[in-house]
């Protein structure tokens, strides 16, 4: 069984004018894959990511994450699954401003009830991996974009999640830092076997992935195998 199994997932935003965003998504992602999801804005790629990240519900279909059916969960269950199975990386980093780098990294463990001492130890270990040991005591507004995103990656990794979900991880970074961050993610994929799903609209970023899924108007248009990393636009980032 694949790590992620989506079968005929539909999602409609209710409102004055109901918006059918996802129109039957079928998708399997295996453990250890590096996948990017591409699409224009309004294509439904963010909604798909929210559903994958258990941040949002879907209406019909099934979503299995590591063999667990993710459907109609209580808030408490959803929070627990998010905490244990998923690591998030956001476009705007989403670090808490009044917490230092190391405190931000250890926050997921706080909600797991890990002791303060152990938390700090583990957080320092992951910051070290990101090359940010010296920045542990700094607040987010004292760091550069690339550093902030690396703190966010450390935070995403600290719970040893099943998948990393990255929403436009390079959207707020310059091209050089973008390359660094994407290299970091692909290294995580290659060396640690971490399953990574990146949502982006930049083809250069998408090109780092081994599989590119194009979404258009709520359905999966085309799935590109990208072993050679030579998809269109690859030169933009190289």
């Amino acid at each position: 069984m694949a790590l992620i199994e989506l079968k005929d997932v539909n999602k409609t935003y209710q409102g004055a004018q109901p918006l059918h965003v996802l129109k039957g998504i079928n998708l399997n992602i295996e453990k250890g894959e590096f996948v990017s999801i591409m699409g224009a804005s309004g294509s439904g790629k963010s909604t798909l990511l929210n559903i994958l990240g258990i941040l949002d519900n879907y209406d019909t279909g099934t979503y299995y994450l590591d063999g667990t059916l993710i459907k109609d969960l209580s808030e408490k269950q959803a929070a627990a699954y998010r905490n244990q199975m998923i690591g998030f990386i956001f476009q705007s980093f989403n670090l808490i401003g009044f917490k230092t780098a190391v405190e931000n990294v250890e926050l997921p463990l706080y909600y797991q009830g890990v002791s303060r001492h152990k938390r700090r130890e583990l957080a320092m270990e992951y910051l070290d991996k990101m090359g940010l040991t010296d920045w542990a005591g700094h607040f987010p507004n004292e760091m550069s974009g690339g550093q902030k995103q690396r703190v966010a990656i450390a935070r995403a990794l600290i719970t040893s999640p099943r998948i990393i979900l990255a929403d436009e991880p390079t959207g707020a970074l310059d091209s050089k830092t973008s390359v660094e961050v994407m290299n970091l993610l692909s290294k995580l994929n290659r060396e640690d076997g971490m399953t990574i799903i990146v949502v982006t609209h930049e083809s250069g970023v998408a090109n780092q992935a081994n599989r590119i899924i194009h979404i258009k108007d709520g359905i999966i248009g085309k799935i590109e195998e990208n072993d050679k990393h030579d998809a269109w636009g690859a030169e933009l980032i190289k």
Binding site: G53, A79, S92, L107, Y111
Partner: protein, 416 residues
């Protein structure tokens, strides 16, 4: 879920102390409310004591009877007749009015010369029984008040008033055992009453008084059966106003006075006076609590309001927390705890500051090391205020916390 452990506490403390201006603004309203409430309560307490000092040492349910001249003819007597109270009246009231507790007679002589060696003073000589202390509580500086043995044995002993003492004993010190001369008779001093003149006086100011056993005066001045005043108190649970008509009846009958002749006999009911003062302070207290609680409530609403804004401002933070695994209950707990801790800390500071200021006022009111009026807030009032604060803190946090609970983790990503 762990509701209270040091870890949760530190998390809450961090988010309070690292957002100083927000926390300060939130707490200030409550601080001010509690500060005002405590200051006003303490202030009115002190004011009440100052006023009460005027009635100090006076039984609150006392009635004093003194005779006037009749204004109505009755049983063959013409009007305009003078009459006197007598010892038998004491027993009449005692026997016929069971609700009366202490019934005691007094006699008094004004303008007596009191001397010791070269010092002399013109004061009032007052004869009482030992149970007169139940009517007007003496404030003994030296020695003791008259006792039953003094009365029974008609001893020549006396208790000096404050001014009499300072005139006859300018050198100060314990005068007990020394003798003073009043109208050619030596009395040995057994005590000094330090009571100042208040709003209610019987036979003039207590400071000008030389109090001696009534039995001794009766013999020395040939008063016979005559007494000048009759004082009595009501037993607990009885209202003086219920007793006075019956007392009037009894005394009138014994002295052949028309019971409807109000001016022939004066009945001074202290309960009426105390009632007026009591009502005044009930009113002041009501106002104090109204203003104080109002200010406090405004403060709490302020807290709620600012917390509301701060929750809005913290949407992203809360969204992030939710995205990385906080349950709604944990978020609720956090916001509520922040609110409770903020109100409690601010409130406690309010209590401490008001207590400090009241202590300063008390320092200013102290004379000769004796406190004239206590301005301090009673412990239980402060305790009640603290308990109230916790409840108010919870209430203030309720709305913002439920607002925070409604924040979805996706809101964290919707920021730009």
């Amino acid at each position: 879920m762990r509701l209270f452990d040091t870890d949760t506490f530190r998390e809450i403390l961090d988010s309070i102390t690292r957002n100083r201006s927000r926390s300060f603004l939130t707490g200030f309203g409550v601080f001010w409310g509690v500060f005002m409430l405590m200051l006003l309560t303490g202030g009115s307490q002190g004011l009440k004591e100052i006023l009460n000092n005027n009635f100090e040492g006076f039984a609150q349910n006392t009635c004093i009877i003194y005779p006037g001249s009749t204004t109505k003819p009755y049983k063959g007597f013409s009007k305009g007749r003078y009459w006197s109270l007598e010892y038998a009246d004491v027993d009449r009231i005692k026997n016929l009015v069971p609700e009366a507790e202490t019934v005691t007679p007094t006699v008094a002589l004004w303008g007596r010369s009191i001397s010791r060696d070269d010092n002399s003073y013109s004061g009032t000589l007052k004869g009482v029984r030992a149970d007169y202390a139940n009517i007007e509580t003496p404030k003994m500086m030296y020695g003791r008040f008259l006792n039953d043995a003094d009365i029974a044995q008609e001893r020549k002993v006396c208790v000096l008033g404050k001014r009499v003492y300072s005139s006859l004993f300018p050198e100060g010190g314990d005068p007990c055992g020394k003798r003073v001369l009043v109208d050619g008779t030596y009395y040995s001093v057994v005590g000094v009453d330090w009571k100042e003149s208040g709003a209610i006086q019987i036979n003039g100011s207590p400071a000008d008084m030389v109090t001696v056993p009534i039995t001794q005066l009766r013999k020395a001045y040939n008063f016979g059966n005559t007494i000048h005043l009759l004082c009595f108190t009501a037993k607990e649970g009885y209202t003086m106003s219920d007793l006075t008509p019956r007392v009037r009846q009894i005394i009138s009958r014994a002295h052949y006075i028309d019971p409807t002749d109000e001016e022939a006999m004066f009945l001074l009911n202290t309960q009426l006076i105390f009632g007026i003062v009591d009502n005044l302070f009930k009113g002041i207290n009501f106002l104090v609590w109204l203003i104080g609680l109002g200010t406090l409530l405004a403060g709490v609403i302020g807290v709620s309001n600012i917390m509301m804004v701060s929750v809005k401002e913290r949407t992203i933070e809360i969204g992030i927390r939710r995205a990385i695994g906080a349950t709604p209950t944990q978020i609720l707990g956090q916001i509520m705890s922040e609110s409770v801790i903020l109100t409690l800390v601010a409130g406690m500071l309010g209590i401490v500051f008001s207590v400090l200021i009241l202590a300063g006022v008390e320092l200013g009111m102290t004379q000769d090391g004796i406190l004239k009026a206590a301005f301090q807030v009673p412990f239980w009032t402060a305790f009640l205020a603290a308990a109230l604060l916790t409840v108010l803190g919870v209430m203030a946090g309720l709305m913002p916390a439920s607002r925070a609970m409604a924040i979805k983790p996706v809101d964290a990503m919707r920021d730009e």
